[in-house]
């Protein structure tokens, strides 16, 4: 029996579902299928959307049919693992000074760690971008070290400042711009994760890697200024898959 299902979102998309939990292996299968579908440039496929559990394959019903796509996609799944998309590992500067990290002390207390240990654990982990959603450019990244895993805040904020580096459950994220949010804020990045005037839109794509680099308040200010002058590109390198 196949270990995936193809579900319907009417005549707008096929949802190729590989599981129902947050799991790195599931994510890799989804990303491999995304790369295969994109590479094949199937007529009528308008775009693909990798999420935690599935790949949405959106299509134009005036150009193709779900039946035709289902057939092609089934072929790609059994053949997967051979194609990989372009994935990058990003260096994301973050200031963990309490001034930029309103919840770091509470997180440290709850995790029975010092704030410095929280910074070390958070910044020494290389994160995997499972998906981008909630708001434009918001990356759901994992997996957080076990010691840092906490439930969401009981009292969500109505306004989370832009650039807030956040954690909750097994996930890490960055709020790209001011929005409501219930995650714990343990730092702030001076870089922009979403820029509608750039062709890329969101800096991070599903499958990308992220490593946070602790910076001082003065370095934070310097980078922020360069970002405002559109004179800063975060360092990145290709990830071999």
């Amino acid at each position: 029996m196949a270990d995936f299902r193809i579900l319907n979102a009417a005549d707008s998309a096929l949802i190729v579902e590989f599981g129902s939990k947050i799991d790195r292996k599931i994510s890799e299968r989804i990303l491999a299928l995304a790369a295969a579908v994109e590479k094949a440039r199937l007529p009528g496929v308008t775009e693909v959307l990798p999420t935690f559990r599935s790949l949405s394959v959106n299509y134009d019903p005036l150009v193709t049919t779900g039946r035709e796509l289902e057939h092609r996609i089934t072929g790609f799944v059994s053949d997967s693992g051979k194609v990989s998309g372009s994935r990058r590992l990003w260096d994301v500067p973050a200031c963990y000074d309490p001034e930029f990290a309103p919840d770091i002390e509470a997180v440290a207390r709850a995790a029975e760690l010092t704030p410095a240990e929280v910074v070390t654990l958070h910044s020494e982990t290389q994160y995997h971008v499972y998906m981008v959603g909630f708001v434009a450019g918001f990356p759901y990244m994992g997996d957080l070290p076990a010691k840092l895993r906490l439930p969401r805040r009981a009292d969500p904020r109505t306004r989370v400042p832009p650039g807030s580096v956040a954690i909750a459950t097994s996930m890490a994220a960055v709020y790209p711009y001011e929005s409501p949010g219930g995650w714990h804020l343990i730092g702030t990045t001076p870089i922009r994760l979403f820029d509608p005037d750039s062709e890329r839109g969101a800096l991070l794509r599903p499958g990308d890697g992220v490593k946070f680099r602790p910076v001082s308040k003065s370095e934070f200010a310097k980078i922020r200024k360069a970002v405002e002058q559109r004179n800063y590109t975060p360092a990145s390198k290709e990830i071999a898959v």
Binding site: L7, A10, S12, M131, P196
Partner: protein, 345 residues
């Protein structure tokens, strides 16, 4: 590039929209675009624009403009709305083109029937592409369209044409059939298995009502509660325009153009693409019933609906002299037909 229209009063919610933003779902960017794809395209067709050219979507109450160019040609599509021109006695009805000259002040008087209406200008507006589209996404951080926001008084909309050549104006051969009582057709899933059998039956047989808490993100419905079979939180997956999600309130929400791209509530069903325009024009207080079709049927219905739209565009004809009573009679006739054959495919 010339100044075409100056916003005298912006109306309740007027935004620049096109056919939507594709290719950025993976970045969490909503599709946006016209809620009523057909009305949007018909407005463009009436002024000879590319069918996907950006035009104005108006919700709630219509805007008022002053003509800045030496002349412009415009068309309004939406229910039985009209264009009221300060210097002219008779209002111009929707579904036709009209040429206005510099200094004329006009107002789009929107139909009370239709949630949204469209106003197109010949030659289109000069609006920069943002992430591949001219559609406005007004929620934070606000991008696309006119400065990433709804229109405000004093805004000046520019376009390529300084004047609109005089010619015979055109009209739709027959008005659109609004089909406000036609069931909205859906394909069950992707997560109908997160609901009890009774809930799915309930969903397909009940009558829901669109609540006032409805906007471009989604229409919230009130009516019978839909029981989840188990947990109603799921690990997020993708949303499409027309996804019907049921959160902890057990009441369905039809997600529309500005909805977020992923979500963690089960989606009991999805509106078929052919019926998205007729959802888009249904306003708060109207009833909604759902009817199940298969994916194959959904695709056939969409092809038929598209052919019908193309026929309507093909049938656009010179404005005849039948303004007033005769025209009303003509429209009346077609509305009667609409009621009879509204749901026959």
């Amino acid at each position: 590039m010339s100044a075409l229209l100056k916003v005298v009063a912006p109306g309740f919610f007027t935004t620049v929209q096109d056919s939507g933003r594709r290719g950025y779902l993976h970045a969490g960017v909503p599709v946006s675009g016209a809620l009523d794809r057909d009305g949007f395209m018909l407005a463009n067709a009436l002024v000879g624009n590319d069918l996907n050219a950006a035009n104005l979507e108006m919700i709630g109450s219509g805007p008022e403009f002053e003509v800045m160019a030496s002349s412009v040609r415009i068309a309004l599509v939406g229910g039985n709305g009209t264009i009221e021109i300060a210097s002219r006695e008779e209002a111009i009805r929707c579904d036709r083109s009209v040429r206005l000259t510099k200094g004329e002040i006009f107002r789009a008087r929107l139909s009370s029937d239709s949630f949204c209406s469209y106003l197109a200008v010949e030659g289109g507006f000069d609006i920069p592409l943002c992430l591949g589209s001219r559609s406005t996404y007004t929620r934070a951080p606000g991008f696309g369209g006119f400065s990433g926001r709804q229109l405000r008084a004093g805004d000046i909309l520019e376009g390529p044409n300084e004047e609109a050549a005089a010619r015979t104006e055109v009209m739709l051969n027959a008005p659109r059939k609004p089909r406000f009582d036609q069931p909205i057709r859906v394909v069950l899933g992707p997560q109908d298995d997160y609901f009890t059998k009774e809930a799915v039956q309930q969903f397909l047989s009940a009558t829901y009502k669109i609540t006032p808490a409805s906007d471009r993100i989604g229409f919230r419905l009130e009516g019978p509660l839909l029981e989840h079979a188990g947990d109603y939180n799921l690990v997020s997956d993708g949303i499409v325009t027309g996804s019907i999600q049921v959160p902890g309130s057990k009441l369905p929400i039809i997600l529309l153009s500005d909805a977020q791209t992923t979500g963690g509530y089960p989606k009991i069903a999805t509106v078929i693409s052919a019926d998205l325009p007729i959802v888009g024009i249904r306003r708060a207080g109207r009833e909604v019933r759902f009817q199940q079709v298969s994916r194959d049927e959904a695709e056939q219905i969409r092809r038929a609906e598209h052919a019908e739209l193309m026929n309507m565009i093909e049938a656009i004809r010179p404005l005849d002299g039948l303004q007033g009573l005769n025209l009303e009679a003509l429209y009346g006739q077609n509305l009667v037909d609409g009621v009879i054959d509204g749901a026959d495919y």
